[in-house]
């Protein structure tokens, strides 16, 4: 952990509204100086960032690292490697492991493994209810003490409104967000693709947009009642964006995230029955995609989160209805979402904000800043770099991506976590 100088890059630091060419000097795990390029840094190791963007490390609010229990899909080490290769320095991992992270012993196991094996920081989310069963709330104080940053029954929606009300209410004790996977299961039923012309053509059961909208409306209403911090995971519908925008305007404490795939793909991507286009919530219509992009641009949606959800090839290579939903996304988030910058919908500084400062603030952890004294978590992005995505050449144990074989523009070239160079695009993952 010596002295490293990131030289000649365009520094994008949303926390300081900074967007200028500068050198960033790192020492002792922290940022020690940000200044005009070319200054003498007294023999620090140099990283050439010319032509690139230097940003605070990205914080992914929504990943599934699958450990403990499903290490054949991913584990904390491989997931951490995917993260730093994609520019992410911190990963917020969901609780639907085996066993479920609903007990401090599981939280401690995850954090312990992360310290030993993961190049990225790992912040666990605990289940909001025991066993994700939607009935009895977990021991929130003990879990927060063990290190969790939020509670969620992600993947399983808390359908009992009374339970959700108590969970939100009780979270006032620990002051961490409750993350909702907002899909009314009584409306989803067996639906597997967005309900509309595409589901009708495919002959597959439809999952209607209103299943999300109805549930977001319920959860916002309960957040308003309880004063809790509600975070809406993977927003996918125009209706939900609208509800969140209105709720924020009247002061409800609600934040939101959107995935790269819901910003970039419509349900038409599913027309070939490729199970790597099966997600929960499903890919939606063009109108929904447009609304999610607009919501991200105007700040209604605070964060881009990948919902990185690894599944083995043999699990995905089955009938569409039987395949588990979800795709991997850590290594493709940068190029996929840079499309919004290229399209003029997001300024580069705002793009960085949605990937770093915004999500870091939601979980109340350091990150998202290149201020002097901040932990030296940063990434160097080449926004013009062209490459072809092949998951076999990536770091995930799984291959379930809708972008296989696609040309990508933009890539993380270098990533530092706590002042240590953990990733270099030419040399791979370097630590731990």
């Amino acid at each position: 952990m010596g002295r490293i100088c990131i030289r000649g890059g365009r520094v994008l630091d949303p926390s300081a509204e900074r967007d200028e060419l500068a050198d960033v000097l790192v020492e002792g795990g922290r940022i020690v100086a940000v200044g005009p390029p070319g200054a003498d840094t007294g023999g620090a190791e140099g990283v050439d960032a010319s032509g690139c963007w230097v940003a605070p490390g990205f914080v992914d609010l929504h990943v599934h690292l699958r450990e403990p229990g499903q290490e054949y899909k991913e584990d904390i080490a491989s997931g951490g490697r995917c993260g730093v290769a994609g520019g992410f320095t911190a990963l917020v991992c969901m609780a639907n492991t085996q066993p479920v992270n609903d007990d401090p012993s599981v939280t401690e196991y995850i954090l312990d493994r992360a310290r030993q094996e993961s190049p990225a920081r790992v912040y666990p989310v605990a289940a909001a209810t025991r066993g994700l069963a939607g009935e009895v709330m977990t021991e929130m104080s003990a879990l927060v003490e063990a290190g969790v940053v939020a509670f969620s029954d992600d993947g399983r929606t808390i359908m009992d409104s009374g339970v959700m009300r108590r969970v939100l209410e009780y979270s006032g004790l620990v002051r961490v967000p409750i993350i909702t996977h907002a899909e009314d299961r009584t409306l989803v039923r067996e639906g597997v693709v967005n309900e509309g012309p595409v589901s009708t053509r495919l002959g597959l059961p439809g999952n209607p947009a209103v299943a999300e909208v109805v549930h977001v409306a319920r959860d916002i209403t309960l957040a308003e009642l309880t004063g809790a911090h509600l975070h809406v995971a993977h927003v996918s519908t125009a209706g939900a964006v609208e509800l969140i925008r209105a709720a924020r305007e009247r002061g409800v404490h609600v934040t939101a995230e959107v995935t790269p795939h819901h910003l970039a793909l419509t349900d038409e991507a599913t027309l070939g029955y490729d199970t790597n286009t099966k997600m929960a919530p499903p890919l939606r219509s063009q109108r929904d995609v447009d609304a999610c992009r607009a919501g991200l641009a105007d700040g209604t949606i605070d964060a881009i989160a990948t919902d990185h959800a690894p599944h083995a090839v043999h699990e995905k290579d089955v009938e569409f209805t039987a395949a588990p939903p979800g795709v991997i996304g850590l290594e493709t988030a940068v190029p996929v979402t840079l499309d919004l910058v290229r399209a003029g919908e997001l300024a580069p500084l705002e793009w960085v904000r949605r990937l770093s400062t915004g999500p870091a603030r939601i979980i109340g952890r350091p990150g998202g800043s290149l201020a002097v004294g901040a932990p030296a978590d940063l990434t160097v992005i080449d926004p013009e770099r062209r490459w072809v995505y092949d998951p076999a050449k990536g770091f995930s144990k799984s291959r379930n991506s809708p972008w296989i074989g696609r040309e990508m523009i933009g890539r993380a070239m270098v990533t530092l976590v706590g002042g240590t160079l953990v990733y270099d695009a030419h040399r791979g993952v370097l630590a731990p």
Binding site: G203, D317, A322
Partner: protein, 313 residues
């Protein structure tokens, strides 16, 4: 002309539909001979791979293959292979390794024939996948109407019943509209799928309006066990509102014909006395099914890529 596989009517051009109909006409003649057999597919192997049980369709394909002198093998993975947890693709590739000249696939989930076709060398013929397509049913329906009316262009075809869960409705919608007919769909709102008009049909919730001026009335089977109480209140109410009897049929043209892909629920979607005699053509549909499937096997299994590869080699 014509892809390797027959996965759906949506993929076919008008000219391809016409070619299948004309070929069916020649095959139908074979079925009227004393010796109902020609050597066209002698030495070819056709596998009927039915993951979902269907005695009627499988038998029709089997007779069609045998009338063309093909060797027809029925393979119905039952619960035994499910307990072995062999994947569908593994099953299909195992069969492919035995060098069939065509594989006829039926599965209860939409898209499975496409996934199998992507993995196999042999041509795949879809014999019905979930609520997606049932192309040979639509072809036999087209053929039946063509024989009855002498044309398809300009006709009005009304499809009545559970459109949401029907592969027959989708395939017929594509088939008849590609050949110039007007297709109407009639059902309670709960059984009209979202955005169905974007597929090129008009939808109606009034059976009377849907029948006015219709040349063809096509009824769909109501799956009582799955639907009653969920998509409509009761069988009694469905039969009263959407069940066809001679009184309601009067709203259609005088010479309208009544069709049903079978098996029929007497007294539910069709009145008992209407099912057995003109203007019902239900048994003609079944008869024509063999001729149409002979045409499909001839066109798709008669020029398998293996054969082409062997010739080149």
């Amino acid at each position: 002309m014509m892809g390797r596989d027959l996965l759906g009517i949506e993929d076919l051009e008008r000219s391809e539909l016409e070619r299948i109909l004309e070929t069916s006409l020649r095959m139908e003649e074979v079925g009227r001979r004393d010796v109902k057999k020609v050597p066209t597919l002698r030495g070819r192997t056709i596998i009927n791979l039915f993951f979902e049980p269907s005695t009627r369709t499988r038998t029709s394909f089997e007779i069609a293959g045998k009338r063309l002198s093909a060797d027809v093998v029925n393979f119905s993975p039952s619960s035994s292979s499910l307990t072995k947890a062999e994947s569908i693709l593994d099953t299909a590739m195992t069969l492919d390794a035995m060098d069939p000249d065509a594989v006829v696939v039926r599965h209860k989930v939409a898209g499975v024939p496409k996934r199998i076709a992507d993995a196999l060398q042999a041509p795949v013929i879809n014999a019905g996948d979930g609520a997606h397509e049932h192309p040979t049913q639509a072809l036999l329906d087209l053929f039946t109407v063509w024989q009855e009316k002498g044309r398809i262009d300009g006709l009005t075809v009304t499809i009545v019943g559970d459109i949401t869960h029907s592969r027959v409705a989708r395939s017929n919608l594509y088939a008849f509209s590609k050949l110039g007919a007007e297709v109407r769909l009639a059902a309670p709102p709960t059984m009209l799928p979202a955005g169905v008009e974007s597929l090129g049909a008009k939808s109606f919730t009034s059976l009377r309006e849907a029948l006015e001026g219709a040349d063809v009335v096509m009824l769909l089977r109501i799956q009582q066990e799955r639907l009653a109480g969920c998509f409509f209140p009761s069988i009694r109410e469905y039969a009263a509102t959407f069940g066809l009897d001679r009184r309601k049929l009067r709203f259609a043209k005088d010479d309208a014909i009544v069709m049903h892909p079978g098996p029929i629920n007497r007294g539910v979607e069709i009145a008992h006395d209407l099912a057995d005699q003109r203007p019902s053509v239900i048994l003609d549909q079944v008869r024509n099914g063999v001729a149409v499937r002979m045409a499909v096997l001839y066109l798709f299994a008669g020029r398998s890529p293996r054969e082409a590869a062997r010739r080149e080699g």
